[in-house]
């Protein structure tokens, strides 16, 4: 009996240790975002301090973070929306007509280093006068979101029994009508998974926006990065900016936890 208690105690210590390692950087970031610069550079590092909101005032007041926030939202929403429009029919076709090669082809976009298309984009978009435009940024972010949508949705559609649309087709409906009226309404969970994950990946993307956007369309990761390159690092401001950029993705993850886990683990467990 004693051994059982001991092993269960060791187990919980291990769990708490894992949780602490995972959480600590978040906690430190959060607490530093409420510290003054003096408290941040204090030695030894301060655990207890008088919290201040000045960092957040600076980030959202002087730094125009709301604009970058809006840019990230516009780009992410448009890219994910268009990826669903392009990707849902493609994923359906891949699932129903077992077009494996086609699926692998679209998945290549996830596999390949983004920079091998970014350099040519840069040249072409400059020629077309599309630098610092939402168009260029959204196009580039579709290439992030589309493979995720196709990957998740083709596996999801494959789990829906063929009889669902076939019985409607026997009654004279076309396949495209059955896809629209029968399959899509059944696909809510898959679509939530695909939407959440691809939005988060677009939200977090740094490289594409770093090259393709300037002041007008700058997204949050670039704004946070630029914050760093000031002469003297304003740690409190940077930490508040880091909190601001992570908060939406974390909230989305908490709300859609089940779906996010599924999306991140699905292919691996099946394949």
């Amino acid at each position: 009996m004693n051994r059982k208690i001991l092993s269960s105690a060791i187990f919980y210590i291990a769990v708490v240790a894992i949780a602490l390692v995972v959480l600590f950087p978040f906690l430190w970031m959060l607490s530093s975002s409420f510290k003054t610069q003096l408290d941040i550079i204090a030695w030894p590092p301060k655990i207890l301090f008088t919290p201040t909101l000045q960092n957040y005032e600076k980030v959202f007041g002087e730094q125009d973070f709301l604009k970058y926030f809006l840019n990230s939202t516009i780009v992410g929403t448009a890219a994910v929306g268009l990826s669903l429009v392009l990707g849902l029919p493609a994923a359906y076709s891949i699932a129903r007509f077992t077009q494996r090669k086609l699926g692998m082809f679209i998945l290549l976009a996830r596999l390949m280093p983004g920079i091998s298309f970014l350099m040519p984009w840069y040249i072409v978009f400059s020629r077309l006068g599309l630098m610092d435009s939402y168009t260029a940024l959204i196009l580039s972010h579709i290439l992030i979101a589309l493979p995720i949508v196709v990957w998740i949705m083709s596996s999801y559609f494959a789990t829906i029994p063929r009889e669902m649309e076939e019985s409607a087709m026997v009654d004279g409906a076309t396949r495209q009508y059955a896809f629209w009226k029968i399959i899509l309404p059944l696909s809510g969970p898959g679509i939530i998974t695909a939407t959440t994950l691809s939005f988060i990946f677009s939200w977090n993307n740094f490289m594409f926006s770093q090259v393709l956007s300037m002041e007008k369309t700058k997204t949050l990761p670039i704004a946070v990065y630029n914050f760093l390159s000031y002469a003297e690092v304003d740690w409190g401001g940077v930490m508040a900016a880091a909190v601001a950029i992570m908060a939406p993705a974390i909230v989305l993850t908490m709300v859609f936890q089940k779906y996010v886990v599924k999306g991140l683990t699905m292919g691996a467990v099946k394949g």
């Binding site: 959480l23 430190w28 204090a42 493609a90 596999l111 350099m119 495209q176 977090n204 880091a242 992570m246």
Partner: protein, 292 residues
């Protein structure tokens, strides 16, 4: 024949067509263009048109020590990061693979690093690594150890970056392996237990072999991304100090968007492409072989 039946007969082409055209335009064409540029000496700042120089950009870049170091560093970063993530990730999954109070909370916590913006993660770790005000040196000194220079020193910068990658991506392996473990049947474990196997023997000889395909897939996914790691390195060190943390992706970025040597940069991108592609194909072959 009505129009709708034409659409229906060709649905397997019409449905994927828009996505296909999009990927062709934004991925295939640019990759081919990069390939083409790698045979030129094009420099965007020179104002001259691209000139075909055959393999000269290749011989120039491939013999450059800076490039060879970046290539070796890309592999070193990836191998160490993925190996550590694999070990810790599988260990954590085996620990967490039981019913306990707070299991779903633990899974939520594991998700957080995966959805955290990498650039911001890098910046938070910059604060930890700071030699004068950073928490890590405080902890080292509290244990009577000498302080480290972390990312400010050529010798320690790569391990420090690997540490950040390990923090952020180990949970990915854990979650995938946990999902794999959840799908295993109980019978072999029960059978081994009845035969008197110890917990450790069961894990070593029953559970791990059963979940091995899932572990390998998780490692492949991580490997592909680790080879391409950009955000944390760029944000934390920019490839420095000197070139001490410059990987192929960072070097390609600098050649493209800082020096504008498009021809040479294209060579680097072709190599990175081949490395990512070749390693993933190689491992998939290995995996297929190991399953037979």
């Amino acid at each position: 024949m009505s129009r709708s039946s034409f659409a229906e007969r060709h649905l397997h082409i019409l449905f994927p067509l828009p996505a296909l055209v999009f990927v062709a335009m934004l991925m295939v064409f640019p990759v081919l263009y990069t390939f083409f540029l790698s045979f030129t000496n094009w420099n965007l700042t020179s104002g001259l048109p691209a000139e075909f120089v055959g393999l000269r950009s290749y011989t120039r870049v491939l013999t450059e020590p800076r490039f060879l170091n970046a290539l070796a560093r890309t592999f070193a970063f990836t191998l160490f990061a993925v190996a550590i993530e694999g070990l810790l990730g599988v260990a954590a999954a085996l620990i967490l693979n039981r019913a306990f109070v707070g299991r779903s909370l633990a899974k939520l916590l594991l998700l957080l690093p995966l959805v955290a913006t990498p650039v911001a993660v890098g910046i938070v770790f910059n604060l930890f690594f700071d030699p004068t005000i950073g928490l890590l040196n405080f902890v080292l000194q509290a244990f009577g150890l000498p302080p480290g220079l972390w990312i400010s020193n050529a010798a320690s910068v790569l391990p420090s970056l690997i540490l950040v990658d390990v923090w952020q991506w180990t949970p990915m392996i854990t979650l995938i392996v946990l999902a794999g473990l959840a799908g295993l049947s109980e019978e072999p474990v029960e059978a081994a237990r009845i035969d008197g196997a110890s917990e450790w023997q069961i894990i070593r000889w029953v559970t791990i072999p059963m979940v091995m395909p899932v572990i390998l897939t998780a490692l492949i996914l991580r490997l592909i991304d680790a080879l391409k790691t950009f955000d944390i390195i760029f944000a934390m060190t920019g490839g420095g100090p000197g070139y001490a943390s410059e990987t192929l992706n960072i070097m390609g970025y600098k050649y493209s968007f800082e020096y504008f040597r498009m021809g040479q940069s294209a060579v680097i991108l072709v190599v990175l492409f081949v490395v990512v592609f070749g390693s993933s194909l190689g491992i998939m072959k290995l995996r297929a072989a190991s399953e037979e």
